[in-house]
Structures are given as structure tokens and as C-alpha cells.
């Protein structure tokens, strides 16, 4: 079973309207690479010089990947990866 990536509404124009995308990968980085392979328009939206953009947060099964191993965090089948704009709250 692959990894499910949840795509927030502002990025769905890049995924032909798909709200979730199935990807393969042994790490968050691999999973995102596969996502961008399937939808090349996402690369420029998600990354800036190889780093995830500073105002985007990534959550693996609802945990912020910065508290795990960041992009190197190991993934397994059935994991859910969410991409969520970070500028909220306070």
C-alpha cells in the first residue's frame, strides 16, 4: 500500500483537482520526489533551492516532520503526508 499525500486546495490546480495523491517512497523526500514526478508543476510550488518553502509545513500522520527527521524521515506503507500552509494562528 503506497503513501497518501493530502493536497491542500491552493495546490490542486497542479494535481488536476485531486485532493489526495498516491506516491511511493522510503522517506518523506522520496515521497515528495515521486509526487513532483507525477505533477511537475508542484516542484516550484513546494521547493525553493531544494528546501521546502519556509511557510509550508509537512505533517507525516499529523506530526510535523521538523520534530521527526525532516525530509529524511522514514516512511512506510499506509502513511499519510499532509501539506499545510503554515501562516496561521496567534
Amino acid at each position: 500500500m503506497p503513501i497518501q499525500v493530502h493536497i491542500p486546495s491552493p495546490l490542486r490546480d497542479q494535481t488536476h483537482g485531486q485532493t489526495t495523491v498516491q506516491v511511493q517512497g522510503a522517506s518523506v523526500k522520496d515521497a515528495l520526489d515521486d509526487l513532483c514526478r507525477q505533477f511537475p508543476g508542484l516542484t516550484a510550488k513546494l521547493f525553493d533551492k531544494g528546501e521546502v518553502k519556509p511557510f509550508l509545513n509537512l505533517y507525516l500522520n499529523d506530526e510535523d516532520i521538523r520534530y521527526l527527521d525532516n525530509l529524511a524521515t522514514v516512511t512506510k506503507d499506509g502513511d499519510e503526508l499532509s501539506i499545510i500552509p503554515a501562516v496561521a494562528g496567534g
Binding site: P8, S9, P10, K45, D48, K53, P54, F55, L56, N57, Y59, D62, D64, R66, Y67, S82, I84, P85, A86, V87, A88, G89, G90
Partner: protein, 415 residues
């Protein structure tokens, strides 16, 4: 109908502009959106004299706030006192100290009534019937109360371990209060997901650009009460890091309008050591804060481990020649007591943080003793009473007799 002074929204990172809408981030780079005003139109529409003739509420500055029509929510918010704090000044060893006391803001006793008044007025303009927020407590109280008065349905999401006074102080207004098993940052993430999925006006998510502007009125009021003058140093508690930036922005807007001559001001940020991502970034010269997974402090109102405006707050503090510090739970409680017994102000834990950090910065020489300082007290101690229970003097129990009372007098004077 007022003139419309809001041009739209603009990304603080890339500058892309958007029409007015309930949206908090740039769809290009996800940077925060900020309200853009027609400054020339504001300048011709209103001047200082107009403002001074209006009622003492935050709405006397309504042209500088992002609403298009008359405010419909929170018409009595703001106009809180700026107090000359000579007794606290003496204790801290400084010459001129003021306290901006939003512990007595109406209706829910914190500065959050300001941002909520703007956000819910805006929510109505956008046609929302359902509103909500992610909160550490004060915002919960304010959204619940103001939504009740406005007849809006409210969903309030807070961390489950919140102080009881802040829970009851939300539920009493009839809001749907949701206790989330997690930190504030977990609550915040959930609210972002809710805002992307459901049609709701979440004040600090999709309404955030408008909401945050309400905090400018703290700065407008400080400057007006000083006789249209900007203080040299301001100490502000930091949770998400928005308030400190908006107070500074207020001063700069007054300068641009010509309502104050000079807006030179150093901004100082205050946090609890148990949740100090922004103070840590300032003190260690990090451009971006390191998020804190598990905040651990009695100051729950400031317990945001991953502050949305952390980057901007740290940059502002550096650029204005200010500084940031953090203080322990014991220092927070002691400072709440100090403020109470010197100035007769019962501030919540965040007020203890502000006073204790001010003391620390004065002792470090970061805050000069001979220049004017303003401390921003943002919430009321009645909501966090447990925090002072261990530091205040124990009350004395006596029999109802003169003999029992007389020994208690320090210097008995007979009639």
C-alpha cells in the same frame, strides 16, 4: 457607508497582490498576506482632530482598520488606560514607565477583543454565519463573547489542558468549545485543515490578515495618550509574534500620516523560558526560530511553539535595536505579584512575563534606565489565578476581637 480604504491583500514575501478575500497565505509561496490601504485616501478623509472628537474605543481609528462599512461587532472595544507606573518604575529602577492596560479591555479582558472585533466585523462583510478560532484561551473567550453578541455560530478549538477559568469563560457565551488533545500547534494545524475544507470564518486562519490589523489600535492608543508621541521603548509579550509587529506598524502609520513627528521606537519581546522560540532566535542570532514541540510553562496564553510571525518578530526586534528575553515560571509569578502590589493591576501570566522580562532587560542594560518605556499588559489575572497562589502572602484568620486584630497593625495609631 464608509469610504473603502482597503485596496486588497499583499504577500509579505513576494509582494503578489490579491483582491479582498478570506485568505491568509500567498498561493505562490505561502507567505503571509497583509492588508494594503489607500493611504492617500485615508489622509484626505481623516485627521487627528476627527479622531479626538470620537468615542474612546478602538473604532476612533476606523479608517486605519480593514473594514469597508461601519463596524458591526465589538463596538465598545478598546480605549483602555495608559497608566503612569511610578511605583513599579521605582522598583525596577527606571525613570519613566507606562503600562498599557488591556487587562481591562471590554468585553473579555484581553487585547484579543481588538482583533476579534475587526475579524468578526469582517466575517459579516464576507457573509460568514459560522466563525471560530484556534486559541490558547483569551482568543477563545473573545470570539465566543463577541460571536454571541453578534448572533454568529462559533466553534472554538483549544488545547485540552487549558485553565478552567478560560474554559468556563468560553462556554458561558454558548459557543461550541472543542478541547483538542494536543498542543496549541496541533490545534492550529487542525484549524488550517478546517479552513481549507469548510466554509467558516476562522479569525486567526483565513481571516488572519484582517484580524491581525486590530492589534494596531494598541499602538494608536499608546501614541495618542502620550500626546501624539511614540515612546522610545516598548515591551510586548510574544505568542504568535503578531502583536509586537502591529504595534510597531501602528507607530509607522501615524508617522506616515503626519500625526506623530517621530516614530523611532525599539521593540522588545517577552516570552516564557518554557516556550521561547522567538526569544531564542533573537538571542542566538537565528534568522528563523526553532519550533518547540512541547511547550512547558504556566503561561499557557503564550505557549505557541511554532509562532506564525516568529521570523518577522525576530527580524523587527533586531532591526529596531530592541531585544528579547525569556523568564522562568517562578519569575512570572513573582512579577505578577510585583505588578499587583505596586500598581494595583492584576495581570494574567503573560503580564508576569512582560514585567519579569522588562526587569531582566533593565538589569542587563538592554533597556536604558533613563528613557521612556511602555509595558504592554494584554490579559487579566482573574483568568489565571492559580499562578499567583504560591507567591502571595497567606491571609490571616482571626477571632472577631480587637485583641486579635491589634497585633497585626504594623504601626498602630490611636484615634
Amino acid at each position: 457607508m464608509l469610504n473603502q480604504f482597503v485596496l486588497g491583500l499583499k504577500c509579505r514575501v513576494c509582494g503578489k497582490t490579491y483582491p479582498k478575500q478570506p485568505l491568509n497565505f500567498c498561493t505562490e509561496d505561502f507567505g503571509p498576506l497583509e492588508v494594503e490601504y489607500d493611504n492617500a485616501a485615508i489622509r484626505t478623509a481623516v485627521d487627528r482632530d476627527d479622531v479626538e472628537r470620537r468615542p474612546r474605543t478602538m473604532w476612533r481609528y476606523r479608517e486605519l482598520l480593514p473594514i469597508d462599512a461601519e463596524p458591526t461587532v465589538g463596538s465598545h472595544v478598546g480605549g483602555t488606560p495608559l497608566i503612569r507606573a511610578d511605583r513599579l518604575a521605582e522598583d525596577l529602577g527606571v525613570e519613566t514607565l507606562w503600562i498599557k492596560n488591556d487587562a481591562v479591555n471590554f468585553p473579555t479582558l484581553s487585547f484579543k477583543d481588538r482583533v476579534v472585533a475587526v475579524a468578526l466585523s469582517k466575517a459579516r462583510e464576507f457573509g460568514f454565519k459560522t466563525v471560530g478560532c484556534a486559541s490558547t484561551g483569551n482568543l477563545a473567550n473573545s470570539v465566543a463573547a463577541n460571536a454571541a453578541a453578534a448572533g454568529l455560530e462559533a466553534y472554538i478549538l483549544v488545547p485540552a489542558d487549558l485553565e478552567r477559568a478560560k474554559i468556563l469563560g468560553t462556554s458561558v457565551y454558548g459557543a461550541k468549545l472543542v478541547l483538542v488533545q494536543g498542543t496549541y500547534d496541533d490545534v492550529n494545524r487542525l484549524c488550517s485543515q478546517i479552513a481549507l475544507k469548510f466554509h467558516m470564518g476562522l479569525v486567526n486562519v483565513n481571516l488572519r490578515p484582517f484580524y491581525a490589523e486590530g492589534s494596531k489600535t494598541v499602538g494608536f492608543e499608546i501614541a495618542e495618550d502620550l500626546g501624539w508621541r511614540v515612546p522610545r521603548h516598548v515591551v510586548v509579550p510574544m505568542a504568535g509574534g503578531s502583536l509586537i509587529g502591529k504595534i510597531y506598524k501602528a507607530f509607522q502609520e501615524l508617522k506616515r500620516l503626519g500625526w506623530v513627528e517621530d516614530a523611532t521606537c525599539s521593540m522588545y519581546g517577552a516570552q516564557a523560558t518554557g516556550c521561547n522560540p522567538i526569544a531564542d532566535a533573537v538571542k542566538n542570532g537565528r534568522e528563523r526560530h526553532r519550533p518547540i514541540r512541547r511547550p512547558n510553562t504556566i503561561c499557557k496564553s503564550l505557549a505557541i511553539g511554532d509562532p506564525a510571525d516568529g521570523y518577522f518578530a525576530a527580524r523587527l526586534i533586531r532591526e529596531t535595536g530592541g531585544w528579547a528575553e525569556d523568564v522562568s515560571d517562578d519569575e512570572i509569578s513573582e512579577a505578577m505579584y510585583l505588578l499587583g502590589r505596586t500598581e494595583g493591576i492584576f495581570a494574567e501570566t503573560a503580564g508576569g512575563v512582560t514585567v519579569a522580562v522588562a526587569r531582566k532587560l533593565i538589569e542587563q542594560g538592554k533597556l536604558p534606565r533613563d528613557e521612556e518605556i511602555v509595558l504592554c499588559i494584554t490579559g487579566n489575572g482573574l483568568k489565571t489565578q492559580d499562578a499567583v497562589a504560591s507567591v502571595v502572602e497567606e491571609p490571616i484568620v482571626i477571632q472577631p476581637t480587637l485583641e486579635a486584630f491589634e497585633p497585626l497593625l504594623r504601626e498602630p495609631v490611636l484615634t
